[in-house]
């Protein structure tokens, strides 16, 4: 009986991609996150909504520990990604970031060619065996195919990445995460710099990647959260208010704050 429960919990833990336990975070003396407890399922898209300054980006940026480059960030509690505590002392930052890809608000391709952008992460991490230029070509092609960009850029792989449109740049920024085979993709308002057409295209792409990757997406756009995510988390003032199936959260929110926010009474 006991073993059965243990197995069950184990199985449950298996289908969580990101679990945070009592996560508190300070920028200097300012506390930005309060006791964040979240279990984010793997293989689906979870969106993170809330008004400006509610800590949603901060939470996202502490999952790949990119927050730490600021230097004055202090953290208590922990985050487990696929059961690994990424804040453990013996964890290597490089490995964390290999497992967890991040897409930023503004497309930020590196100042290099399309091809070099795709291979950047791969060349950093995959050093155990040597790759021929044909291997590299395959990697570039399959990554670009996955983001539905191959047909558009196959003839200009050696052009500067900045020459692409914003929508294409953002797709490229997603494509360059794929060669190192991450488990989790973090997206920080990935469509906020794009026009409606670009937004639709990138949303479609994110939906395509669902299943293979666990995706956590911060968004300012409630309509986007509603149409493009399976589960939804609502945060307010550094705390998690509600975490539900997206359909439920928008139709029958449990908390009054959530209801008021999605109805636009504040935010």
């Amino acid at each position: 009986m006991n073993t059965a429960t243990a197995e069950q919990t184990n199985e449950n833990a298996n289908h969580y991609a990101i679990q945070s336990k009592k996560l508190n975070l300070w920028y200097g003396a300012f506390q930005a996150l309060f006791d964040i407890d979240l279990d984010i399922k793997s293989g689906i898209i979870t969106s993170l909504i809330g008004p400006s300054g509610c800590g949603k980006s901060t939470f996202l940026r502490s999952i790949n520990r990119i927050n730490e480059r600021l230097g004055y960030v202090r953290i208590e509690g922990g985050i487990h990604v696929h059961k690994q505590n990424i804040y453990a002392d013996d964890v290597e930052l490089i490995q964390v970031r290999k497992q967890i890809g991040m897409v930023f608000q503004r497309p930020n391709p590196l100042p290099a060619t399309i091809k070099e952008n795709i291979l950047f992460g791969h060349k950093l991490h995959m050093k155990d065996k040597s790759y021929s230029s044909a291997d590299y070509d395959d990697i570039v092609e399959s990554s670009l195919r996955q983001v539905l960009l191959w047909d558009k850029v196959k003839d200009k792989l050696n052009h500067k990445a900045i020459s692409l449109s914003l929508e294409e740049q953002q797709k490229l920024c997603i494509a360059r995460l794929l060669p190192v085979k991450p488990n989790v993709l973090l997206m920080d308002e990935p469509c906020s710099a794009l026009d409606p057409k670009g937004t639709a295209a990138v949303e479609e792409l994110i939906w395509e990647l669902r299943g293979e990757y666990s995706i956590l997406m911060v968004t300012h756009n409630m309509a986007q959260a509603r149409r493009a995510s399976d589960e939804c988390i609502f945060m307010l003032m550094g705390k998690v208010v509600e975490h539900q199936k997206t359909d439920d959260l928008f139709v029958v929110p449990k908390c009054k704050e959530t209801a008021d926010y999605i109805e636009g009474r504040y935010g």
């Binding site: 790949n64 990119i66 480059r69 230097g71 930052l93 490089i94 490995q95 970031r97 290999k98 890809g101 991040m102 930023f104 503004r106 930020n108 391709p109 590196l110 100042p111 290099a112 950047f120 992460g121 950093l124 991490h125 920024c173 360059r176 995460l177 190192v180």
Partner: protein, 309 residues
């Protein structure tokens, strides 16, 4: 009737030029004059230098002798010879060695200041670098003469310490601060989202710098190096004091040399105004002017290039 009156009163008010208006115009004129004065001075200096050197340039100038002969013998009474090959070799060797020293130093310092140091350390370092840039060149020359000279004689067991090595080190240290400042600006101009992107992809700090920041800043860094070279060509006093001032094509860093600039500085006071020797010195001046002009212009265009990207 009343409306017309008010309108006239208003027009009168609009027409009235206040004191502020005159001050504004005055300042505009003063600023305009200061602005174009730079151009006037540069053109004026170039015209003056060219006029003074003109006589020699048109009468007895021989390209092959001037640039091809290593004999600088202006005071030979029978047949003075004006070959600046050895002087060019002197300037080039000192500048070359100076750059070998200054480039790694300044780039290293700039990378440290821009990418690694934080808070107070960064502020102090920046102030220090600017202080270094403000040391007068005669002080550097003095250091070369009184400290470096005996040091080189003792360490390398050579008869003379006023050599390419001495002047190269001094000039390298002189050029490094300004190069550091410009290189640091170039690194600062690299948008932070490049660093963030590379870091999020799992690059270490050094990989971020080496694979992302340096390539993105390479034009600015090249500009910094070129300005250093320009500084090296133009520097006079320190080089005059530290090279040994001997006309000589150097075979090693332990040879004394003489620089183009130092030749003008040392000899101009002793020549008769308008004499051939005097005109030749001005011709060297034209040559130096053109070199530094081209170097600075190239550096400027390169640095501008990154800003427009």
């Amino acid at each position: 009737m009343t409306t017309t009156q008010t309108r006239e009163a208003m027009n009168e008010q609009f027409d009235r030029r206040t004191l502020d208006w005159y001050i504004d115009k005055l300042v505009e004129i003063i600023v305009f004059i200061s602005g174009i004065s730079a151009i006037i001075f540069v053109v004026g200096i170039f015209v003056f230098v060219t006029m003074e050197g003109m006589g020699f340039l048109f009468d007895s100038f021989s390209f092959s002798e001037f640039f091809g002969s290593e004999y600088w013998e202006p005071s030979d009474e029978d047949a003075p010879e004006y070959g600046i090959l050895a002087l060019i070799a002197g300037t080039a060797s000192v500048t070359g060695l100076a750059m070998l020293i200054a480039i790694p130093f300044s780039l290293g310092t700039a990378i440290y200041i821009a990418e690694f140091s934080t808070g107070k350390t960064r502020e102090y370092l920046k102030v220090l670098v600017e202080l270094l840039a403000a040391i007068p060149s005669v002080v550097w020359g003095f250091i070369g003469l009184t400290i470096m000279n005996p040091l080189i004689i003792e360490i390398f067991d050579v008869p003379v310490g006023l050599t390419v090595l001495n002047a190269g080190i001094i000039l390298g240290l002189m050029a490094a601060p300004i190069m550091t400042s410009i290189a640091e600006d170039a690194l600062k101009a690299v948008p932070d989202r490049y660093r963030e992107a590379a870091e999020a992809l799992g690059a270490t700090r050094w990989q971020v710098i080496y694979k992302t920041v340096l390539p993105a800043a390479k034009n600015g860094l090249l500009g910094a190096i070129l300005l250093g070279v320009g500084r090296g060509f133009g520097e006079t006093m320190a080089v005059l004091m530290a090279t040994g001032h001997a006309v000589n094509i150097p075979g090693s860093v332990f040879d004394s040399v003489r620089a183009l600039t130092a030749t003008i500085a040392a000899e101009l006071g002793e020549t008769a105004v308008g004499s051939e020797h005097y005109q030749v010195l001005f011709t060297i001046g034209i040559f130096l002017f053109l070199i530094t002009f081209v170097i600075n212009l190239t550096a400027d265009l390169i640095v501008r290039g990154i800003k427009n990207q």
